[in-house]
Symmetry: C2
């Protein structure tokens, strides 16, 4: 189960912005070989979001360990006339030699808290920027959206149908890992399931009914071939479709597991369908719903008491429709032992090697985080831990199933208002430690 199975021949070294390479060469030419510290974090939560679920960072480290620049990529750079032979040789021999600290997969994370810290000779650390942001950003966006759907469904299974709407093949495949961590019950994505162990699930599309000509006949042959399957009932007329299922299940004894509603007023249709099924004594046939669902619509259906047993979500999950981007930044905070800041208006940047302590109250709920310097001591659970030292992996990346269990446990400690789809009135408190505050003030004086 290799995280880069679809990319085994890819050598993502040149998966980067050109300026990373231009800067790296400039650092090396000037003999700037001191160690740099970079922090991957975000400054603001998207609208309506109370936290993000940090994902992908432990798998990223595997890619970094294997980062190389094959000959054809170096030749491409050589043709650009921006790079001297010394630098091209440095790339040919490249191996990452630094240290990396990360949050565990699926950790709820808040503004200014590092998801990843990279410490390495500056040219090496700089060159990782684009890959780190894209790789962790993708899975964090996907897992953060997925957990909202899971919370809204209040225990009912949420199944991912999003692969067809996602951006490209890589995002669609890795989503199966992020969704597994976030608590999605199953996916329609076959290859993603094979790679990352999220159960795979699927039934029929309208095209099957259309091609078969007669709807009842299509349902009959399908349920015979796949006993216990889910039948789509809305190809022509939803409630007439339900009646046909009832005929097949009650009168012909066909084994039908569920019906799926995929258009119209899902709440109303679910109530009518449930009523019909129950009257026919088919209490065991479940109702699943899909069609443009998001966390708000799921919550509304549940609040109105719609008898829906599970949800299929596609588009909104697959691209995180309300927030397709998180403003992750990968910022230099220290070079050669000296804190480094920039002072662009409105963009707080905290210096130093950090730790996050998550504090639990007597009610077992998280009551806030302390964001401080790594060498400090505070009460609470320290969240950042080393996964790479001198370019060597200290541990294998976690199994997605273990991360999923950890997320489930974690969510029981989250203040309940943070688990709602809407932005909470009271933001989760992240307190900057006195020592980090003092270092920040000192660093600001140094750049002014």
């Amino acid at each position: 189960m290799n995280s880069s199975a679809m990319f085994s021949d890819s050598h993502p070294g040149l998966f980067t912005d050109l300026y990373e390479l231009i800067m790296a060469r400039a650092y090396l030419t000037r003999n700037m070989t001191g160690r740099a510290l970079f922090s991957l974090h975000f400054r603001h939560l998207p609208k309506d979001r109370n936290f993000l679920l940090a994902c992908g960072q432990n798998y990223l480290v595997q890619m970094i360990r294997e980062l190389r620049f094959p000959a054809d990529q170096v030749d491409f750079l050589a043709d650009m006339d921006q790079f001297d032979e010394d630098f091209l040789d440095w790339l040919r021999n490249f191996r990452f030699t630094g240290d990396i600290r990360v949050l565990p997969e699926g950790t709820p994370v808040f503004p200014h808290e590092p998801l990843v810290e990279v410490e390495a000779p500056i040219a090496e650390a700089q060159m990782l920027e684009t890959l780190v942001m894209n790789y962790v950003g993708t899975e964090t966006v996907l897992a953060s959206k997925a957990v909202r759907m899971v919370m809204a469904a209040q225990g009912r299974p949420v199944v991912d149908f999003g692969i067809r709407r996602m951006h490209g093949l890589d995002s669609a495949l890795r989503s199966a890992r992020a969704y597994r961590v976030a608590g999605i019950a199953a996916t329609s994505n076959v290859r993603g399931s094979q790679l990352y162990g999220l159960p795979v699930n699927g039934t029929m599309a309208h095209s099957y009914i259309q091609a078969s000509g007669d709807e009842t006949d299509a349902m009959r042959t399908y349920a015979r071939l796949y006993p216990g399957t889910t039948l789509l009932v809305d190809t022509y007329d939803t409630l007439a479709g339900v009646d046909k299922v009832i005929g097949l299940a009650r009168d012909e004894g066909l084994e039908v597991g569920s019906i799926r509603l995929d258009s119209g007023d899902l709440g109303e249709l679910a109530a009518e369908a449930r009523n019909k099924l129950d009257k026919a004594g088919l209490n065991d046939i479940r109702i699943v719903a899909s069609s443009g669902l998001d966390e708000w619509k799921i919550r509304e259906l549940i609040n109105q008491g719609a008898p829906i047993n599970g949800f299929g979500v596609g588009t909104e999950l697959g691209v995180s429709g309300d927030a397709p981007v998180v403003d992750l930044v990968y910022k230099l905070t220290e070079y050669d032992g000296r804190p480094c800041l920039k002072k662009s208006p409105g963009k707080l940047l905290l210096p130093g090697r950090k730790q996050i302590w998550r504090q639990t109250g007597k009610n077992r709920l998280y009551q806030g985080d302390i964001l401080g310097l790594y060498e400090e001591n505070h009460e609470g659970e320290p969240l950042l831990h080393s996964v790479m030292r001198n370019g060597e992996l200290l541990e294998s990346p976690p199994e997605p199933g273990d991360s999923r269990d950890r997320v489930q446990e974690t969510l029981t400690h989250m203040p309940p208002e943070l688990l709602q789809p809407d932005g909470a009135q009271r933001k989760y408190p992240v307190t900057i430690s006195d020592r980090l505050k003092a270092l920040h003030q000192q660093a600001l004086r140094d750049v002014s």
Copy 2:
């Protein structure tokens, strides 16, 4: 320059929703081996959009030609107990044997017009659905957003900085092809440039200035190493940064090509910077701007006369922030010579094998399309053409550079109001031919 260079070992056969396989087996078990016709199209334009730019379809065909199911993937399916040995053998021997018609890369396309039509034995055509939607959807979303930025910039170069914000590696790489077609001037994306020939471009990040300690010194060493480079001026104070550049360029004779503004009020800062540079006699130093730009902000800066020579766009371009998804559907419209429809409320589906005729008025502007049946004859340019017959490619996919030229030419024929960022008052007219209307009515009667 292989379109699937990052995926050469991937075998995207199982890049699919499970139901495609479940249905395929059901078709085969029932001896439903008739030919099916599927149409890839969208029903509604996203808000504020006047057209989409169809992209990716000609490259998709290459993947389809090479679609196979390697042993480990078939074994994975075998373990699911949903597939009999006949079907698994069919997969082991799979080769697509059908016909495919597509629009040329970069064709402006409107609701209900097919981007792709697939005609093949139904099990084969069904199995392509997920891959077709994801593959063409991704590049169509990206190119459609990019062309809006290009139009808003009115001839000034637009450079892509989006790779770090995009969803996954595949989307970020293929974006370089879609952006090239759409008219983006250059990209920061090195590997994308290598694969798809969009010029690559990049300079420096704030971290270089921060790590160097002294801003002037950082600028000096950089411009010496890279004569004619772009210097970032906003690390500490934008206008003070401009003064430092002036000192280096005028007094020390350093060769500086441009300055880049990356925060604050870009219009105001550009005006003040231009004024300072011109007063110093540095009229040749150009000003480029970035920082959260989209097509509306670019238009506003140009309308207010901001002296900006080029734009860098990242986040909004990379995920198509206002419309990360297009509602592409891949719908069965005919099976075994019989038109097939479904009747889900509000979802028009037109039957039959189609052609689009694009009609040009005396003013050289497109005045409307006729959407009719393939065998009809109408005035105008027929847009769909065959690229695959019996599983064999009829032509090589176009060079992205040729498609780019074609798009540039095409845009000169578009009614000007459709080229604005806002939704036009008058929608572009797509007329359904009388014969297609009649076939639609007939098909509706058949399913009622």
